[in-house]
Amino acid sequence: MRLLYVAILSSLILFTLSPTQEPSYGMNSVLLKVGMQDEPKTLNPFKASDVWTWNVIGYFYESLYAYKPLTFEVIPWVADGYPEFSDDYKEAIVHIKRGIKWEDGTELTAHDVVFTAKIMMEFKIPRYWSSWEFVESVEALDNYTVKFKLKECRVTFMEGTLMSIIVQKKKWEKIVDEAKRSEDPFNYLTEYKNEKPISAGPFVFGEWKRGSYIFIKRNPNYYFSGYKFNYTFQTLEEMREFLSSRPGLEQYADFEEKKITLTIGPFVDGILYKIYRTTDAAILALDKGDIDYIWWPIQPGYVKLLKENENVSMISTPENGIRYLAFNLRKDPFRIKEFRQAMAYLIDKHFIRDRILQGLGEYLCTVVPPGNKAWYNPNVKCYGDEGQGMSRAERVRKAVELLKKAGFSWEVEPRIEGDRIIPGKGLIMPNGEKVPEFDILTPPADYDPLRFETSRRIQEWWREVGVPVTAQPTSFATITQRVFKEWNFDVYVLGWRLSLLPDYLRDFFHSSQIIKDGYNPMGYYNPELDKLADEFVACGPREEKVKIAYRLQEIIAEDLPYIPLYSQSNIEAFRTDRFKGWFSQGLGSISASISYLKPVNTTTSEVSEQGGEKGIGYESYIWALISILAISLVTTLAWRRNRR
């Protein structure tokens, strides 16, 4: 028996001594290693709907138009120039650049565009359907010209329809034919596995080992390789101002020329996505240098740990998203506007920003996040949060005043003595009934504890004026079920990830969305908003759109079907010792910089290439095997001896 212990102990020591080395890259190349929390679901772009999938297959498909990095202007991409509209905006002609190639060498032509468009329209691909339902027909006039006929023109034509992906006709033709002949065409098409995607983008598909990793290679024939985005400035101040909200961008700046230039690569030979289910494991891997970038936001608690590593940097960028609280306007007292406004006064958004978000984010007064500068209206009503923000006592006073004006009363009225608030009890509605107890449905703390903390504070604040409310942790699926399908709720807190174009102002608040599965479960109806929102989504000059968007935000801030709460800033962590050039666009993820990254020092990778034989701590495997063998051998011996 003693032998057994000795064996275990000694093999453990052997293990500890065994050399572990920087792994080689397996291939003679410079790979960007990215940590992801989940792997793609599928390689079929008509099925894919989650971020993990698009993080990978997004590199395979180009679109006619695209957002210019940093400024988010719409620019022609595969298209050559802007579309030529007919006078009534019902027809548009789009030209296509010559010489864009698929990875198999065939050219991307108008036929591919038309073919993809037909898939979108005939199969009603859910992810794109809202951008295509108003398109009547698409045809190729020649190899490089496409004509779109529209039932009506919507703003999403440019920033939706013309930004849809393009797939290769040659590859998909057969599949689509088979799908059409099958019993359930939609099913057939979306179930297609697409194990060998054809790419026209910066990367092509390499290899996928389910559950462990996925690998994509640089596309050597990428049309846009070397394409430059230029940004010039009048003055240095203007340039510095521009850079200040976009950390990391100064690496691309030329201060003498007052110019910023982004050159499309990719300058890496491939991207290796590794799957880490827990952020903890990913953080440790980043710290150790096993990955270069974690493609999801990390929690502020890790900052301290990572700061100690000089090769790791972090950038925090505002997300293009909002967290909000919404009321069921079909019910009392939520249907009363003054009630909602009073409740808004009671929510101390400064507290939420400083305490709960720890400064990593911004409180919101309107549903358009401030980072979306083109559409954000900075001058809407903010219920006690303008400037420094009101004190608690002032908030309660204001809320009580509003409630009284609307005809509310109390069993015990809340009082304010100096700074102290004596909470009220038994709020009575204008119709004489007591406000019933109700819940704020909130997603639990599974991956984002902040939402629940926010709700629980709101619960405390509202209770001060005698509102009998409880923050109720409820699973996400239950909330969506009760809110969007059953309308069986009082108040809920959820979030949205948003698009740049704020057509969601219509989606969330237009009365046509008061349907099952619609996005206006509150039952909010304001004829003025409906009319403006309809105007907003129709095609027209941009300046006018901005004006309407501003007005829409004002109406929403006055009526408060939503109380916008906050918008988070996402911290992203990356290593700087192997690649340089990470930057923030001022909104969204820094993953957008992957196309511009440059290897810091190619020699390091060459060294490890040559060291293929001794790289990867093969020794540790050998040691592992030897130790296992040793353990089993010695144990068997010990076992035998004991039995004798």
């Binding site: 080992k209 903890d280 969506t480 989606d507």
Partner: protein, 325 residues
């Protein structure tokens, strides 16, 4: 009753249990809120588009029709299509099942190996300091939340000492290299297995250790031990040849019971170590509201447990000559 009839009888019992499992699962998941569209909360996704997706999964049919369909399909081995991955569930399970067995079987064997050996030792040295320390230590590890322990293990052995990988099943760089020979790939997987196995075994050996100890103590009172002692046999021979062998029998039964319990540890360990197995998948599927997959994962975890039970029972019957089926 012969061994064969016994096995048949047990198999029927297992079949009934599985049927109960299927039924519970079906109703649990159908009353569960959310469906494949739950995570598609995106203003770009119109109600009409959502309905298209729902139809694809047959969720527009009434509940009892769904149930009959479901049972029929399960009997055919078809668990439907995963909401999340969009592939037939069995395709996922097929990939995950071997991985789970690869982790669980050695872990359970190792934990029993440690438990039985330490157990018979401390029973023999009843009242010694060693017994005392091992009991307290074993129970300490048993009381430890395994996910917490696992995180500490990763931090220590991956981050601080750099001996073991952070998790997962393979080193992508190694597998990507076409020149890597097979043995290195095998070694790579073994290398990734070690830390989770050690974690699981340390967290679980106390159960079998205490069982073995108690069983040994029982056995030591038997007449034949006294006889053996009287015959003047060597102590170690009595301990290992006479006492331990007989004391093993109740352990085998206990093993079959504790397997259901070990499944919990397995689920958490897989989650912490990013091990692509059934346990991690069940957690992931539940969080994704992917009920076909969660059902199937649970079903197969139950199958593993039940099968292991059957093996343990048959083993018991085989080992113990006193048993008449």
């Amino acid at each position: 009753m012969s061994l064969a009839t016994y096995i048949i009888k047990r198999t029927i019992q297992i079949a009934i249990t599985l049927f109960v499992v299927i039924t519970i699962l079906f109703f649990l998941f159908r009353v569960m809120p959310g469906d494949p569209t739950a995570f598609l909360l995106d203003p770009k996704m119109s109600p009409e588009a959502k309905e298209i997706i729902r139809k694809q999964f047959g969720l527009d049919k009434p509940l009892y029709v769904q149930y009959v369909l479901y049972v029929r399909n399960v009997l055919k081995g078809d668990f439907g299509t995963s909401f999340y991955y969009g592939v037939p569930v069995f395709e996922r399970i097929k990939e995950l099942l071997p991985n789970t067995l690869l982790l669980w079987v050695p872990a359970i064997l190792l934990s029993y190996f440690i438990g039985i050996n330490v157990g018979r030792r401390i029973a023999w040295k009843r009242g010694s300091k060693e017994e005392y320390i091992m009991i307290v230590l074993g129970l300490f590890f048993l009381g430890m939340p395994i996910f917490w322990f696992g995180m500490i293990m990763i931090w220590l052995f991956y981050h601080e000492l750099g001996i073991f990988p952070a998790g997962g099943m393979m080193t992508p760089e190694l597998w990507l290299d076409p020149s890597t020979p097979l043995w290195k790939k095998v070694a790579d997987i073994v290398y990734h297995l070690l830390l989770p196995i050690i974690t699981l075994s340390i967290g679980g050996f106390a159960g079998s250790m205490l069982l073995m100890r108690n069983s040994m103590l029982d056995t030591l009172r038997e007449d034949y031990i006294t006889t053996a002692r009287a015959k003047g046999l060597k102590e170690s021979v009595i301990r290992d040849k006479h006492a331990a062998r007989n004391a093993m029998l109740p352990i085998v039964t206990a093993m079959s019971i504790s397997l259901a319990f070990s499944a919990g540890g397995g689920v958490l360990t897989e989650t912490i170590f990013s091990w692509p197995g059934l346990g991690r998948e069940i957690v992931q599927a539940v969080l994704n509201y992917d009920y076909p997959l969660a059902q199937a994962a649970f079903f197969y975890i139950s199958v593993i447990v039940l099968f292991a039970n059957l093996v343990a029972d048959v083993l018991y019957a085989y080992l113990d000559p006193r048993i008449k089926y």
